[in-house]
């Protein structure tokens, strides 16, 4: 698959390394050249310098041919805007957006973005560690087969 990742922070770089190692064609964008030092020496994908809310930068990263676009910059709003550009202008089939702010995450999930909210996930994991995980709702528990 052709994958474009926006944001070469810890998560972005790790994801890029892993997806490239699995044989995918990966391009990663970041506005800071230093960020690319997080990529492993084995990373053979493309590193594109620039802001992700600029059509020219996205096109340079191959957004027009991309199957997947993932936004993991530190800035929720950059992630949201870039994702909507990928979805509406470049018609990328799968777009995944990281949004830290749970309230914002809810609004844009309802607007049709596929979102990941680390704040919500971390809070839930911590709570589970504290009081024990809530019993999983299996199909059987819901009265299924």
């Amino acid at each position: 698959m052709r994958i474009v990742i926006l944001g070469c922070g810890r998560v972005g770089a790790r994801l890029a390394n892993r997806l490239h190692a699995q044989g995918h064609q990966v391009a990663i964008i970041d506005k800071s050249p230093d960020a690319f030092s997080r990529l492993s020496p084995e990373f053979g994908g493309e590193a594109i310098l620039g802001t992700g809310i600029d059509g020219e930068v996205l096109e340079q990263a191959g957004i027009e041919q991309a199957d997947v676009f993932i936004t993991v910059t530190e800035d929720d709003n950059i992630n949201i805007m870039a994702s909507q550009m990928a979805q509406l202008i470049y018609r990328v089939k799968k777009v995944i957006t990281r949004i830290y702010d749970p309230a914002r995450e809810k609004v844009f999930r309802e607007l049709g973005l596929t979102t990941v909210c680390p704040t919500e996930m971390t809070a839930k994991l911590l709570r589970d560690k504290l009081v024990g995980a809530a019993p999983a709702t299996t199909p059987a528990a819901r009265g299924g087969r």
């Binding site: 809310i53 709003n77 914002r104």
Partner: protein, 219 residues
């Protein structure tokens, strides 16, 4: 009207000041402590400290009863999110965003922002008006219709020069509305002759603008 202004920089401050003077109910949202304090000193209790990108801040600002939300921070992505949140979560009737990168105009429109203001484009239009050599000047972009009102001067080698309006082939969906010749305005009819040096004001579809430009200003 109740108007929420997101962003208390220079644009936000002077906008709020003008709106207050016009008698509107205004609230400026600014996250910077110093800036918000300054606005408070100058304009009174029309400022709230907070991040307008957050739903809780907008709720506290009473965005649900706002007639207009104007986002004028220095970051396009923030202005976009503020307007989208206002529209989707608080059902604000009209959202206006300041944009810095002129290319974002189309994107904001696609994403449902009612109006955008680009200082870059405004300054560019001003400069273009001052430059007579410019082939075609963007008078106004009637954006919802994809129409443009443009002005250009007929060149000596233009295929239009010396012909009557009825005999020239203009690009599709293009109409010459007005001609200026030696400071006189002419509303052209079929028999009006087009001369080199005439200034032509035409309405055209955005996609035919390049063709029109070639026709008018051929060298």
């Amino acid at each position: 009207m109740y108007i929420v202004v997101a962003g208390g920089g220079k644009v936000g401050f002077y906008l709020a000041k003008a709106l207050v003077n016009e008698g509107h109910e205004v609230l400026v949202i600014e996250k910077d402590k110093k800036k918000s304090a300054l606005i408070g000193e100058e304009l009174g209790s029309v400022v709230m400290r907070g991040d307008a990108c957050e739903a809780a801040t907008l709720a506290e600002a009473g965005a649900n009863r706002a007639d207009v939300v104007v986002a004028v921070t220095g970051d396009d992505e923030d202005n976009l999110v503020i307007c989208q949140m206002a529209k989707r979560k608080f059902n604000v009737g009209r959202t206006i965003a300041r944009i810095n990168n002129p290319k974002n105009e189309t994107i904001f429109k696609l994403l449902g922002i009612d109006a955008t203001v680009s200082s870059t484009n405004l300054i560019l239009a001003q400069i273009e008006q001052e430059m007579p050599a410019q082939a075609l000047i963007h008078r106004i972009l009637l954006r919802d219709a994809g129409l443009e009102l443009v002005e250009g001067i007929v060149s000596r080698n233009s295929p239009l020069s010396g012909k009557s309006l009825k005999d020239v082939r203009l690009p599709a969906e293009t109409k010459i509305l007005l001609m200026m010749r030696e400071r006189a305005a002419i509303v052209p009819i079929g028999t009006t002759e087009i001369n080199a040096g005439d200034s032509v004001i035409a309405l055209t579809k955005s996609e035919h603008e390049a063709e029109l430009r070639k026709l008018l200003t051929a060298d």
